[in-house]
């Protein structure tokens, strides 16, 4: 998992290797048509013209609900707020294509010998939009807010707590965070962690908060609650990014203006607008040139393709969908997952068979026109260094599935077309799936058909899809009626999977545990893992383990599509791009 830094869009330097490995999916047993044949998406715009001096550009925020408008890194909760924040504010440290920190950003870093202390040095001339310099203590202030006993946001996570002295501060025992030291000239800040882990490189929090602007919670000038709802973060928020916020129509649009004192120099565009456009109208808005850059819902891909004045960019998303098999329970006392040996799906051969039975390729190709493709491992291809492209995992093969089931003793004894379990008892699985999106229901139906084809009777829990909240309520609570469920994880930018599959991870909804697993996950974040080859090897083993044990069966990886007007220049969605948001421009 990761910090809250979902890298979005151009600008912030998002280095990444290209995720083309999907084209060499080696898992197919029989040679199959390349699912993404004919899909050849660029990640950079093709327009190489000079940017206009004083261009104006409009971003679409594609959503059917308004954004919340909590424009602070510390307090926001919705992804759409982040889309706005990322246009006027930055992290001090930039990251590369692997989402690892670099020295390209507004600050540089050094890590101590013992890998426990990181020191950031802010460059000269990094200024907030109001002209005040960005101080080291502004970053300290972020930590003070995140760890504050009154803080009710959800960003107080492992990487924050890992700072020395943070638990005490968080419990209200001290006013100081002993692990953070700010230099007198306010240029340097060093953070010391309790545990050395490579996650520092991808998960460290480096977004400062303008203490002078929003007010100081530490002096009692303002309370956290007041701060959250303060106009300073809702009406006139400031950052130190290339554009500053001029005006906000709540929930609807934001107008930015160029920040002349941006630390990397004057940005290209005179002004930008981000506005909410509903998913139903987005193509129309792109076609009419009302918006220049917009993400395009996959189900509208075919129509988007035909729009002349735009160019489609695509990259693989930091997410995967999966089928989870309920194998145990969360033990609230011990705070760990406990497997149930009598679970309906305790036999891993059955789980493997179910994976074999699923025809994800058809879904990806037919339903998503290639914009989704079968997933193989639980570490997504975006993390190119860790994703094991050579891993062999089950792919659609009903015969293999049947064979496995036969082997496991699941055969149809009463001749109703469905298999009974190894003891000859009726075997019916309850399948929980989330509603939302037009394709949710056909996909669930499709999987059930796939399983039925190999003789496994699966029925929808309560005969219908469940709405998001009820779904997670039930999955989380290990609702005994649920045998399998379909979920999706956004992975964040940290490849470490222990938050989702660890013994003590509450999000490990399949409740799978295994000593080998514990071992590997621990090793993956140990100090030793700063050695990237070592870490790579550990994760390779882990991926293989997961493909063998199948606590969950990953189904598809997804592309995200972005429609960009052809007049836009210097825009890339490549995480590894050298382009910054300040370079973005329009040509005529």
């Amino acid at each position: 998992a990761c910090t809250g830094k979902e890298k979005e869009g151009a600008g912030e330097k998002d280095p990444e290797k290209d995720p083309e490995k999907k084209t060499e999916e080696p898992t197919k047993e029989e040679p199959k048509e390349d699912p993404s044949a004919g899909l050849d998406f660029p990640m950079d715009v093709s327009n190489k013209a000079e940017a206009l001096e004083d261009g104006e550009l409009t971003w679409a925020m594609v959503t059917d609900t308004p954004f919340e408008g909590t424009l602070s890194r510390v307090f926001y909760s919705g992804a759409y707020d982040y889309e706005i924040i990322s246009k006027f504010d930055e992290d001090l440290l930039a990251v590369d294509g692997d989402y690892l920190i670099t020295n390209e950003g507004a600050a540089t870093y050094e890590i101590s010998e013992d890998n426990k202390t990181i020191t950031l040095t802010i460059r000269d001339g990094v200024k907030w939009h109001d002209g005040e310099p960005v101080k080291a203590s502004d970053l300290l202030y972020s930590y003070q807010l995140l760890g504050h006993p009154d803080y009710t946001g959800d960003r107080y996570d492992f990487m924050i707590e890992n700072v020395v002295g943070m638990p005490d501060y968080n419990a209200g025992k001290t006013k100081e965070i002993s692990g953070i030291v700010v230099s007198d000239d306010e240029k340097q800040i060093s953070l010391t962690f309790t545990e050395a882990t490579p996650s520092i490189l991808s998960g460290i929090w480096t977004a400062p908060t303008p203490r002078h602007h929003v007010g100081d919670v530490m002096t009692g000038e303002i309370t956290i609650e007041e701060l959250e709802s303060s106009d300073k973060i809702r009406v006139n928020p400031i950052g130190f990014g290339p554009y500053k916020v001029v005006k906000i129509i709540p929930g609807e649009s934001v107008l930015y203006e160029r920040f002349d004192d941006y630390w990397k120099g004057k940005p290209n565009l005179k002004s930008m607008v981000t506005k909410v456009v509903s998913s139903a109208s987005i193509l129309e808005a792109l076609k009419k040139g009302e918006v220049d850059i917009a993400s395009v819902p996959v189900d509208q891909y075919l129509n988007a393709k035909d729009i002349d004045n735009i160019e489609l960019l695509a990259k693989v998303d930091l997410a995967y969908t999966y089928i989870g098999f309920k194998l145990g329970k969360w033990d609230a006392e011990k705070k760990e997952n406990v497997m149930d040996p009598n679970a309906k799906l305790a036999d891993k051969r059955v789980r493997q068979a179910m994976w074999y039975a699923m025809d994800n390729e058809t879904i990806g190709k037919e339903l998503y026109h290639g914009l989704r493709f079968p997933a193989t491992s639980l570490i997504i291809p975006v993390f190119a260094s860790f994703h094991d492209a050579d891993l062999v995992t089950p792919s659609y093969d009903p015969e293999k599935a049947k064979a496995l089931l036969d082997e496991a003793g699941f055969v149809d004894v009463n001749g109703d077309g469905f298999r009974e379990d190894a003891d000859g008892n009726e075997f019916v699985l309850n399948f929980a799936s989330m509603s939302g999106g037009e394709t949710a229901e056909p996909i669930a139906q499709f999987y059930m058909q796939n399983w039925a084809d190999v003789g496994i009777k699966v029925q929808l829990l309560d005969g219908r899809l469940h709405e998001f909240n009820s779904f997670y309520d039930m999955v989380k609570a290990d609702e005994p009626k649920i045998d399998i469920y379909q979920g999706a994880w956004g992975t964040g930018s940290d490849p470490d999977p222990s938050g989702l599959y660890g013994r003590t991870a509450s999000f490990n909804y399949s409740r799978f545990t295994n000593e080998k697993n514990d071992e590997l996950l621990a090793a993956g974040t140990s100090e030793k893992a700063f050695d990237s080859d070592y870490r790579k090897d550990i994760y390779k083993q882990w991926q293989a383990l997961m493909a063998e044990e199948v606590p969950v069966a990953p189904t598809v990886y997804r592309y995200t599509l972005r429609g960009v007007n052809k007049r836009v220049v210097n825009y890339s969605i490549d995480p590894a791009t050298e382009l910054w948001l300040s370079d973005l421009g329009v040509s005529e």
């Binding site: 998913s279 139903a280 058809t362 037919e366 139906q445």
Partner: protein, 303 residues
């Protein structure tokens, strides 16, 4: 020295004139109105088709997803093309019509029963009982019902056709209760109610066996007209995402395909037939309802 309201009396008398044969009067009125007659015939055809065809359609194959066959335009195999899961729209239209009709009729009946009972009791007793019951009703009418329905829908653990009917019914009887009550209040002043009281007939019997039959034409008219509204009752909710679960085809689920311009224009077969069907049914019921209404009011009658 006649009573001051003799004219009105005559009207009542005239209304009662057709009471015993209200059904026949309705039929006469419908026969007389070509529009209503046509509507009734069309409606009968639709209802028969909706309730008979599902017996002929293999519903398992209808729900079977086939991604190789999505969004196919109408053809001989799929009269109305296929939807996003490659499923036959025509079959869904038939089953959907049946579901929507069932829901419409059930909600109309249940809400009608509740409203009728509530209104009758309130109107029959009048006075303090009426006062309290009306305060409650006023309160209920103030509730933003759509919001409440949405909240209920999210709460109900096992949400299906039947719970949907119950939720809807729970919010659709208020106006009926008010209407019935106001008529019951008038009716209780009439002497036949007093007569029954002086003859020692128990209250509940008076309410349901004396008063109710006299309100029946009102009830029938109101029910027919609200049936028209209730047929499309789930479409809006479905559109908002709080309708029937996907997989329970209804006219609403079909119409709700019309969510984006691409489908509106290029995949019209998925939503347009359902939208037209609903329109046609509502218009038909409305025309029949208007005829029924005229039948109940001697002044407006055509036949």
């Amino acid at each position: 020295m006649t009573n001051p309201v003799i004219d009105e009396k005559r009207l009542i008398a005239q209304e009662k004139l057709n009471n015993p044969s209200f059904m026949r009067t309705i039929w006469r009125e419908i026969k007389h109105d070509k529009m209503a007659l046509g509507s009734l015939i069309l409606l009968t055809i639709i209802v028969l088709a909706a309730y008979i065809s599902p017996l002929l359609i293999d519903s398992a194959s209808l729900t079977r997803v086939n991604f190789l066959n999505v969004w196919k335009p109408p053809s001989a195999a799929n009269w109305l093309g296929t939807d996003d899961g490659g499923r036959d729209v025509f079959g869904q239209l038939m089953i959907g019509t049946r579901n929507s009709l069932t829901i419409g009729v059930a909600v109309t009946l249940i809400a009608g029963m509740i409203g009728l009972t509530y209104g009758l009791i309130s109107g029959y007793y009048g006075g303090a009982v009426d006062n309290i019951m009306m305060r409650i009703l006023e309160f209920l009418m103030v509730l933003p019902s759509l919001m409440f329905i949405i909240v209920f829908v999210t709460i109900v653990p096992n949400y299906n056709k039947y719970t949907f009917i119950l939720i809807m019914s729970a919010f659709y009887w208020f106006a009926k209760a008010r209407l019935i009550r106001s008529r019951a209040l008038q009716e209780r002043e009439l002497d036949y109610i007093n007569a029954s009281k002086t003859l020692g007939t128990p209250s509940w019997k008076i309410m349901f066996f004396e008063m109710f039959p006299n309100l029946s034409s009102l009830v029938i008219v109101n029910m027919t007209l609200s049936l028209a509204g209730n047929i499309g009752i789930e479409t809006g909710l479905t559109f908002l995402g709080f309708g029937l679960p996907a997989g329970t085809p209804s006219l609403g689920t079909l119409i709700s395909f019309a969510r984006n311009p691409d489908i509106i224009k290029n995949k019209w077969w998925s939503w347009l037939p359902a939208a037209l069907l609903i329109l046609v049914m509502m218009l038909c019921i409305n025309y029949v309802g208007q005829a029924v209404k005229r039948a109940s009011d001697a002044r407006q009658r055509l036949a």
